[in-house]
Symmetry: C2
Subunit: 365 residues, 2 copies
């Protein structure tokens, strides 16, 4: 793995003092992780330990999500490909069990569809608003490039179809351990090339969250490289835009974000499987380093506790500096991608509603 030696590492600089609400198991994991890394970065601000309450400035649904314990597998790292698949499949099965109710509630139909050899799912709202008849969204799911295979990757597509009223094709791209970089991006580009023959590019958007946010940006970079048509807009949710570990919130929001929890843990281990030894500073892996001139209008979404807060706002600034129309929404108290957790949370409707509004404003009809 080609990680920059200057980058902050997992739990750098933490003086671990387990509090009463942290279980001994997690304490042991963190202690082991801390011991495994040297303290290299200059320590310039000593922030004391603290007990952080759930904010009362979010909905009751979001309070539950914020109060949840750390993702159980946040730092559980399988040793073999089979162990990875077992972990991934267990996570996927849990999600897939929730999908029939979600689709029914949001009146969305989902059908598998193979496009030029790439597996996809078409998510279609029962009632397609007239202004969206000739529009199509391409979705690239999240999961740190390893998780959410098959139907389990369709949650965000269902939300966008149901709450946003768009036809969506969600790309079930190949993933590690079987298929590292650039398989996922290749698959997404195959679908994009097919899509531009079906629908006017200016009537289409690409969107995704986390790894899907980074893939959205990488798809535009690659479309530019290959002189392909660009979409009319993109929606980039808290993107894994910098795999090298740069970004202040990797440190400031560590152990506060209850989804990713800390840099260098499971999500980054999965991303490393994807990168498979390639230079992590390659813009197709860390799109914050890409040239964003000529990008289509973009809406970015993150939360104040998001481990990737910095890497979302860095992309926003970079887009603006390149003259791109780009807007940012930051949700109070939310950790990584929690605006996708509960279709009934007002914050979910707000986030997806804003994205749908932005796409409606910028897409052709």
């Amino acid at each position: 793995m080609n990680r920059s030696s200057a980058a902050p590492r997992l739990l750098d600089g933490f003086s671990w003092a387990p509090g009463p609400f942290i279980g001994p198991l997690i304490g042991a994991i963190v202690a082991a992780s801390t011991a495994a890394f040297a303290q290299t970065a200059p320590a310039l601000r000593e922030v004391p330990a603290r007990s952080v309450p759930v904010p009362d400035t979010v909905s009751s649904q979001m309070q539950k999500i914020i109060a949840a314990p750390f993702t159980p597998t946040w730092n559980v790292i399988p040793n073999t490909a089979d162990e990875w698949k077992a972990q991934v499949n267990a996570g996927a099965a849990a999600i897939v069990g929730t999908l029939p109710a979600l689709r029914e509630q949001l009146h969305v139909k989902v059908e598998p569809q193979v496009i030029d050899g790439v597996k996809t799912f078409a998510a279609t709202p029962e009632k397609l608003p007239v202004q969206n008849r000739n529009r199509l969204l391409i979705h690239v799911h999240g999961g740190c490039y390893v998780s959410n295979p098959g139907e389990s990757g369709t949650v965000e597509a269902i939300l966008m179809a149901g709450l946003g009223g768009f036809k969506v094709i969600s790309v079930d791209y190949r993933m590690p351990p079987d298929a590292p970089y650039p398989a996922a991006l290749d698959d997404a580009m195959t679908v994009w090339k097919a899509a531009v023959k079906m629908t006017e590019p200016k009537n289409m958007a690409i969107f995704g969250t986390s790894a899907g946010g980074a893939l959205t940006l990488s798809m535009v970079l690659r479309a530019k490289q290959e002189d392909l048509p660009l979409p009319g807009a993109i929606a980039v949710g808290t993107p894994m835009s910098d795999l090298t570990g740069r970004g202040d919130s990797f440190v400031t929001n560590a152990m506060l974000d209850n989804v990713l929890v800390a840099y260098g843990a499971s999500c980054d281990k999965r991303a490393a499987l994807y990168a498979n030894g390639h230079d992590l500073k390659d813009p197709l892996l860390s799109p914050v380093y890409g040239d964003m001139h000529g990008f289509p209008p973009a809406i970015l979404t993150t939360g104040t506790r998001d481990l990737l807060l910095s890497n979302t706002v860095r992309v926003h600034r970079k887009l603006r500096q390149a003259g791109v129309e780009a807007v940012l929404q930051v949700f109070e108290g939310q950790s990584h991608a929690q605006y996708l957790r509960d279709a009934n949370a007002p914050e979910t409707k707000d986030a997806i509603g804003e994205i749908a509004h932005f796409l409606d404003k910028h897409l052709g009809k």
Copy 2:
């Protein structure tokens, strides 16, 4: 003081463990502050102590600002009106000493001007861009409602005149300990009422940071109440939008923000002098509780380490939910209002440039 009993208080839940980089003086202050407040909020996430490095994702100028120690007076609370004035005057004198060089560098002329009995400063760029000839910005400075009297309150006005190319009138509003709420707001409204007779309201914006961001919002709320014309746009920098202490980043960014440092310290003590016993939930004191329907287009600015990050993004969401065109910019690694600290930092030019661009887009000519 009418502070909500449910609100988090200074350093609630901190288990103070002084690190090697914190001086004994600050340690003693914090220990005393911690002892002074009971732990009332439910503690649901235990975040360990950490040493946070200066991010390498910002300019060298901004790195210096981020690396600076805490504001020396962040928790130094005078006991008498005279002591307050001495502290405020010392701070003001230090700023005033820097102003001639700033004005010269940015080619801005500043002249005192009394408008209907209210002291103001007119800041004018040497070369006024043709599109800004008939435009005027009204500036309300920050300083927690007590600091930055006289010329010391003109820094942001000079930056906007010099980097943005606008004519600015900066309101030198009355402040505590002599003049509590609503004196500042009254003075600002007096200037606004005079301004709408000089210039088309749609050609004008109101802007300010911190207390000035809150005053900007309160001026629009009050203009709505009094059926006065509204400005064509507003620029709201990290507003003190909620004096009641609600907002997740009051806790999550405590002791990380090196400007305000923690809720309940000097800035909030100054705001309490301003509130002077009035209900802190009054929207004219805590504008996040105001009705924002009909507000003009707004641009909001904050930083990822800002103690008021939450209270900026909460206002942004509230504006959007009221159907207002509102955009948000969040700067990597910055604590409270650090985009105003160094006219030579690229981030300052970026922040002010974005604000100027937004105003240019929305103001009449």
